[in-house]
């Protein structure tokens, strides 16, 4: 078990390094220049000076080596757009905001998704099932940038329960979290429904039935734990992408999260920010996947984590 964890951490670091390298290569393949898009037309000598300052005049392999050296000391560089902000600062300020919204969205999606899916499996082919399935399909079909303005209109403007936008109190986080939760909730509900239907056909459910337990008790104590495993493997990557910020929702609600930098840095060819946000995202993803794998062991006692094979 301990050997497994050590090996696992080693592969996690290797994965992050591989992602960083690939991102670096792809990033350098994009034509353009961080300073070319500047509205002021800079004289050629100034441009050369600026490039030299950020080592952009050196050959690409050298730039790569320099970047990796900094990365090892957790220095992700300075944003090329605003000299005063380091990438570390950007992540430090934006990540917690994104994480709060993402975490709340994830909790809403997981709890209600599991309940909705279980209830519709339990009432298979009855009205509640069709109703829940319809809700789920609507949830999957409506993109969150459509839903968000509606939420703002009804729950912030018509009925001023929550602030329209911006960041500050917990109340500010409610609408964005809900807007962000709907699609994952619907997907989890559909996963849960099919997984639960499969579990309800199992022999041990009949055993539970023969004990005289009520059907809700059967689903609660025998169904959910067995049905949730496939759902958990889907929740992992979803969780990682939710807590690292989403561009659209943060844009609509004017939230200072990290999602904005992710997208804008690419347009601006802000190389250190592109690298920084990508590495941050991959680190979170890799870590969450590790946690998910560990949690399988808790959910299903038959799964043993070993250092052999693929670790399952």
């Amino acid at each position: 078990m301990n050997i497994y964890i050590v090996k696992r951490i080693f592969t996690m670091l290797l994965t992050i390094w591989a992602i960083a390298t690939l991102t670096f290569i792809i990033m350098k393949c994009i034509p353009g220049d961080p300073f070319a898009s500047d509205s002021r037309a800079l004289p050629e000598e100034v441009l050369q000076n600026v490039r030299a300052k950020y080592n952009l005049d050196k050959p690409v392999p050298v730039q790569y080596a320099l970047y990796m050296k900094d990365m090892l000391s957790f220095d992700l560089g300075v944003s090329l757009n605003s000299e005063t902000r380091t990438v570390n600062e950007i992540i430090k300020q934006g990540a917690p905001v994104s994480a709060i919204i993402g975490l709340q969205a994830m909790i809403i999606a997981a709890i209600f998704g599991v309940i909705l899916g279980s209830v519709s499996a339990l009432n298979h082919r009855k009205f509640i099932d069709y109703f829940a399935t319809t809700i789920a399909i609507i949830g999957i079909s409506i993109p969150n940038f459509i839903l968000a303005p509606f939420l703002i209109k009804y729950f912030a403007v018509d009925m001023p329960l929550f602030p329209v936008a911006r960041w500050g109190t917990w109340m500010h986080s409610v609408l964005p979290s809900i807007a962000l939760a709907v699609t994952p909730l619907a997907i989890i509900a559909r996963f849960m429904r099919s997984s639960m239907l499969e579990v309800l056909k199992q022999d041990y459910i009949m055993t539970a039935n023969s004990k005289g337990l009520s059907k809700y008790k059967i689903v609660w104590s025998h169904g959910i734990r067995n049905a949730i495993l496939p759902v958990v493997s889907f929740i992992g990557p979803l969780f990682a992408s939710l807590i690292t910020g989403t561009f659209v929702i943060e844009q609509i609600f004017a939230i200072p999260g990290i999602g904005r930098y992710f997208v804008e840095s690419v347009f601006n060819r802000d190389y250190p920010v592109i690298m920084g946000t990508t590495i941050f995202f991959s680190a979170v993803l890799v870590f969450v996947l590790f946690i998910i794998d560990m949690s399988y062991r808790l959910i299903d006692p038959r799964i043993k984590l070993t250092s052999e094979g693929d670790g399952k």
Binding site: T207, S210, K211, G212, H222
Partner: protein, 339 residues
């Protein structure tokens, strides 16, 4: 104690209706072990699952009949009333203990669950009870074993756990659906001994489903033979082995391997295959495979003939119009013996 009268169960499928159980009647007395035998698809499992209230699937329909447990009709009970009976008065042991136990729940908890549902015992009392039951079914180290998961048990031990679950609330009737089929022979014998011990010590009635006639001879007092959804014969166990009253039963007994015969001797199969239950034959279901078949067998389902005291057979050969034959000749012989 348990009485099943004229039970009819139908499955609705896309291909039409499957008449899985037709006009099944039998009764089980207190402390009696009754075996139901028959080949796969003969309706044994459907019959007992109907009795145990486990047939609420959407495509099964109980057309007719009643199931009286101590005088109350289980089929007329509300779900809530039935839940009180299930797991306490009437419990069930299933064939495959690997899939019948929840893989993600500790064994002790799976036993405790029905105690919690049906008694008012406190948590520590329940824990003690679980340990006592595990001991009773012969599981060593019960304190440790209760905290383990099913995959940490061997097949025989898992089946003991299944029996422990069934025993948790001291049932009056235990239904065992092929409890030994998935086990090897030595373990089979242990499990059967365990069941027999329960019946002897606690006067529990047991319905034992099996397709192993050896098991029947070993344990049961009364035998019910099912074929194509019908009870073709029911009789006390010694009677059925010595003087089977139905050609199908006779075929089953003849097809059993016999240790006393020469190794090279081939087993005697029953030729043909069971009828299609989408459209069962209008007459006797066994007619196409029966070597004694008569004209009447083609067109009319035979009624139950009482061959001897407590020995019933659905076969036209017992009708007096069939004349003297193999079956009633036997009977006559028996009677002359007694004289």
């Amino acid at each position: 104690m348990l009485e099943v009268n004229h039970l009819d169960v139908v499955f609705r499928t896309y291909g039409g209706e499957v008449k899985a159980v037709r006009d099944v009647s039998f009764h089980v007395d207190h402390g009696e072990i009754v075996a139901i035998v028959g080949e796969s698809g003969s309706g044994k499992s459907v019959t007992v699952k109907t009795i145990a209230g486990l047939m609420q699937s959407e495509n099964a329909e109980i057309r007719n009949g009643n199931v009286l447990l101590n005088g109350t009709d289980l089929l007329k009970m509300t779900e809530k009333e039935l839940r009180k009976v299930k797991g306490s008065t009437m419990t069930m042991v299933f064939q495959d203990s690997m899939t019948s136990l929840n893989p993600t729940m500790k064994v002790g908890k799976q036993i405790e669950e029905s105690i919690k549902e049906h008694t008012g015992l406190s948590k520590s009392e329940r824990k003690d009870k679980v340990i006592t039951i595990l001991k009773q079914v012969g599981i060593p180290n019960p304190e440790l074993r209760a905290e383990q998961y099913p995959h940490e048990f061997s097949g025989g031990m898992r089946q003991r756990v299944m029996i422990a679950i069934a025993l948790a609330c001291n049932p009056e009737l235990l239904i065992a659906d092929e409890p030994t089929t998935a086990l090897d022979v030595t373990i089979q014998a242990q499990i059967l001994d365990l069941l027999k011990g329960l019946q002897a010590n606690y006067n529990t009635s047991i319905i034992l489903i099996t397709h192993d006639l050896g098991v029947v001879a070993e344990t049961a007092k009364k035998v019910i033979v099912m074929y194509a959804g019908m009870v073709v014969e029911k009789a006390p166990v010694d009677q059925i082995f010595k003087h089977p009253g139905h050609p199908y039963t006779e075929g089953l007994i003849n097809s059993m391997p016999d240790v006393s015969t020469d190794k090279n001797e081939r087993l005697i199969p029953i030729e043909g295959s069971p009828p299609d239950l989408f459209s069962p034959p209008t007459g006797c279901p066994f007619v196409s495979r029966c070597k004694y078949a008569m004209e009447v067998c083609e067109h009319h389902i035979p009624p139950e003939f009482e061959v001897k005291y407590n020995h019933f057979s659905r076969c036209w050969l017992h009708d007096e119009r069939a004349g003297v034959n193999h079956f009633n000749a036997n009977k006559e012989g028996e009677e002359t013996d007694q004289k």
